[in-house]
Symmetry: C2
Subunit: 139 residues, 2 copies
């Protein structure tokens, strides 16, 4: 794993550096930020969704399944009554659209990601209950 | 927490959406990606570094301390011999430079972030041993 760095720009605005790419993060204006980038904790959810989405599309392609559209939504509920504020519930929604996207294969791919391959799921599930649903739209 | 989405673009390239911002992620070329963005798991480390960096600068400002430069480096060691590949060790390095940056105040701010405020630390420390060091350069 290559090292990463976040560097203060001004106010609450930081520039993150990862794999040669720059990622701006900032606090919300309600807490002194200027909204020059997303909130840092939310990046954990992009990390989770991206990790499992890459697993699922890789496994589906090995099964010769190629959806026309594929996205993963993540909804998270935080523990809000005490610090530190961690995620207590996370719902992943896998949405796939295509002409030949068999549900059984998608279920298998998602199950493999969630139980075996996705390292981010494995880290976050210590704090959060992680559930998922699969929506397939045939065209 | 606003919902987030990652949407397949092509290959292993996904576009993440968070707080109204777009974040490209992609796999490395060695595993079929085209490196159009960072790897998703690394975003967890930007999330961690950004979370604790915002805590620390907020607490320091309440103590009337304003460093001229401030960054946080994160080095992580993955568990590599089995799936899922989680972080086993994480080292955070807080680097501050300025004319009046008292070490005791920085130590207090980092300790408060790591033990009480940073939700990302609280989530990742179930999997990883998280250590930190503080480097202060007086100018």
């Amino acid at each position: 794993m290559q090292p990463v760095r976040v560097t203060l720009q001004e106010g609450m605005h930081f520039l993150g550096e990862l794999d040669g790419f720059g990622i701006h993060i900032d606090a919300d204006e309600s807490v002194g930020g200027k909204n020059k980038g997303p909130r840092p904790k939310g990046l954990s959810l992009i990390s989770l969704a991206g990790c499992t989405a890459m697993d699922v599309i890789s496994i589906l392609r090995k099964m010769k399944v190629e959806p026309e559209e594929f996205y993963v939504d993540v909804a998270a509920v935080e523990l809000t009554d005490q610090h530190p504020k961690v995620f207590k519930k996370i719902l992943l929604k896998y949405y796939l659209k295509g002409t030949d996207v068999p549900r059984k294969k998608v279920e298998k791919a998602v199950e493999l990601s969630q139980t075996r391959y996705c390292g981010v799921t494995a880290m976050l599930e210590h704090s959060a209950e992680i559930d998922y649903e699969i929506v397939i739209e045939e065209v």
